[in-house]
């Protein structure tokens, strides 16, 4: 892998609540290089969205963040908020799931994209309003808004869901960030529109060499666009590797369960989907052992260790950077 632009080391996020401390992210590491795509997959409550918000410094005041978030070698954790503001939207940008709440209904979409530009070019000469407007139209055109110069004067409610998501992407990319974090960018969209948006993300990534962190629960989308994958479960990394490692050589019982549970459109249906019994643990209720142990089909073969000892990510012998956090040394399918 080329030198990563974004490196996250031992990230912990704990929320202070009335009910006590709730650990949402419990020590994860990841890295992504220019032009590459890292997908973070997991179900609700796995900590994938909290991780991305932590990287962006967007968590509320009751969240304690520790660890390192290195953007081009510079640590963002603990940076004063005015410093962080210069980085956010300039070097690293975020696209949310819900484009409607990411846009201000009172301002035209062109104005909003231009504002993102002006905020980061405020002191330089070329940041006149006209220039910002010109940049906004250029970006809107680039993300595929037809007749961008005229449509820049439209308001968010005049756009469809897919068009709004394009506007949000234009806003995120107007300053040509090094890293783009996309948190479920297509979950709210129809599948034909999803295909348009994913193609757009791939195109801009190719054009600008942006590093993309894609947060998704949809393994189909992940298989199509990701280079590397991090599977999260209950705030921890369950498995990490290339996209082929995950889909062809899944090593963690949870990853295998997810793959088996997913119905497929391209092949005749299986008589039954494989399921993972039970449901994910709520944050804070995790015991000392493996967080997946209560739902795991392989725990009996390992025994006590799954309950007493928390598994760490360990490399899979002979599989490069492929790692899994599981006491079962062998691949579950061979076990």
């Amino acid at each position: 892998m080329a030198r990563p632009v974004l490196e996250v080391h031992d990230l912990h996020v704990t929320f202070r609540t009335d009910g006590g401390l709730v650990p949402a992210v419990d020590g994860i590491d990841f890295a992504v290089a220019a032009g590459e795509t890292l997908a973070i997959v997991g179900e609700s409550g796995s900590g994938k969205s909290v991780s991305s918000a932590a990287v962006m410094g967007l968590l509320p005041g009751n969240a304690d963040v520790t660890g390192e978030v290195l953007l081009d070698g510079r640590d963002l954790v603990g940076l004063p908020s005015d410093e962080l503001r210069k980085v956010r939207g300039n070097d690293i940008a975020l696209v949310f799931q819900d484009a409607l709440s990411a846009l201000n209904p009172y301002y035209s979409v062109g104005w909003q994209v231009a504002e993102a530009y002006r905020l980061h070019h405020g002191k330089s000469r070329d940041a006149s309003k006209k220039e910002a407007q010109r940049q906004a139209v250029r970006m809107l055109d680039l993300v595929g808004i037809p007749d961008a110069a005229r449509r820049a004067n439209s308001y968010p409610h005049e756009f469809s869901g897919g068009m709004r998501q394009r506007v949000v992407i234009a806003m995120a990319l107007v300053n040509n960030p090094k890293v783009l974090i996309a948190d479920e960018p297509t979950t709210a969209l129809d599948v034909t529109v999803q295909a348009q948006i994913m193609r757009l993300l791939e195109d801009v990534q190719e054009e600008f060499g942006t590093a993309l962190v894609l947060i998704s629960h949809d393994l189909g989308v992940v298989a199509e666009v990701a280079d590397d994958v991090l599977v999260m479960y209950a705030g921890r990394a369950a498995e990490r590797g290339t996209v082929r490692d995950l889909f062809h050589r899944a090593a963690h019982p949870y990853s295998l369960g997810l793959l088996g549970a997913m119905p497929r459109v391209d092949v005749p249906p299986k008589p039954r989907l494989t399921t993972i019994p039970g449901s994910p643990p709520s944050p804070g209720s995790i015991s000392t052992g493996c967080p997946f142990q209560p739902r795991c089909a392989y725990t009996e073969r390992v025994g006590e260790r799954c309950i007493t000892e928390r598994p760490e990510l360990t490399p899979r012998p002979g599989e490069g950077d492929h790692e899994a956090a599981c006491h079962l040394g062998r691949r579950p399918s061979d076990a």
Binding site: L219, G220, R264, T274
Partner: protein
């Protein structure tokens, strides 16, 4: 036919838009525009389409939660189009509905026991506790859950309660509107397997409304594809999935990502957005986004016609793929 559980004939459902000012002509959203649809005993029919295609509206007309603007609804061979109020209750014994969001469709102030009792009472029956426990066990819950409240359950469990409630009056047909789209993948699989088990055990039939084509493929025996208020293609699931005839079905299927890294797929990426259902395009509703559209497509609205070599598989297209 005697084995037809549900028969919809030329259903139209328009929603009126107030003109706002008196001199502006009142407009209507044509949510469902002339759709005929049949469900036979033992079938699982998948009703697929994107947002705004009218699939949920059609499901609500089929369960008589909405009155159709025009057309005929027959349930179990009886015309129920004009039946309303209390007289609908016998109809409800035959057809029940499962909703997308169990959080919103379960009363948070009622215990599970009360929730499950309500449909019995509507039919004038006092259920025994044993009956209620049996219902819960049918959906993979147990007697201990009877006194709990919806907030004490996870999303998957709540959907099971919604299914148990629908099963309480022993319906023949369950209309499920996006039953798993709010659930995580691992939980979604549990609920889909449950629906399949119930079908085998109780001989249920389903109408499954869903936008997720992979989910529908997993359980449906027949599917109908909707676009802008009309059915553009229908047929046995395997035939439609493997040999889509309508360009829209083809584009829709090709857009679904497949969990296979490096899989080569000739994806048809549609341009533009779905037109407004207030004034749909003349002729074929899909022609404005269709990659095959020709002049003829704007002339006349097509009806579903049998695809070459099959009488079950039908499509409404001047230029079908097969």
């Amino acid at each position: 036919m005697p084995d037809e559980l549900l028969h919809l004939e030329n259903i139209k459902k328009y929603f009126g838009l107030r003109g706002g000012v008196p001199w502006r002509q009142a407009q209507a959203v044509k949510a469902v525009d002339d759709v005929s649809f049949v469900v036979r005993k033992g079938e699982t029919v998948g009703l697929v389409g994107e947002s705004g295609s009218g699939k949920s509206t059609l499901a609500r007309v089929a369960t008589r939660l909405l009155d159709p603007t025009a057309g005929r609804v027959e349930i179990g061979g009886v015309d129920v189009t004009k039946v309303s109020g209390r007289k609908l209750r016998p109809v409800r014994r035959k057809v029940q509905m499962v909703f997308q969001d169990p959080q919103a469709s379960l009363n948070p102030r009622q215990s599970v026991g009360t929730i499950l009792t309500t449909p019995f009472r509507a039919q004038g029956i006092r259920p025994t506790k044993i009956q209620l426990v049996e219902l819960l066990e049918q959906v993979g819950l147990s007697a201990e859950h009877l006194d709990r409240y919806p907030h004490e359950f996870s999303g998957g469990q709540r959907q099971r309660i919604g299914i148990a409630r629908a099963l309480s009056v022993q319906p023949e047909l369950l209309v499920c509107d996006e039953p798993v789209s709010a659930l995580d993948v691992s939980i979604q699989a549990q609920v889909l397997n449950l629906l399949a088990d119930l079908r085998d055990e109780l001989g249920l039939s389903y109408v499954l409304v869903a936008h997720d084509l992979a989910v529908v493929r997993q359980v449906a025996s027949r599917i109908a594809v909707m676009y802008l208020g009309t059915i553009v293609e229908e047929g046995p699931a395997a035939e439609v999935y493997d040999h889509p005839a309508h360009p829209y079905t083809r584009a829709l299927l090709s857009a679904v990502p497949v969990p296979e890294p490096g899989a080569v797929r000739d994806r048809i990426v549609l341009t533009g957005d779905v037109p407004t259902p207030i004034s749909p395009p003349s002729g074929c509703p899909f022609r404005t986004r269709c990659y095959k559209a020709e002049d003829i497509c704007s002339t006349k609205r097509l009806v579903l016609e049998a695809v070459a070599g099959s009488n079950e598989h039908k499509a409404a297209c001047y230029l079908p793929e097969i």
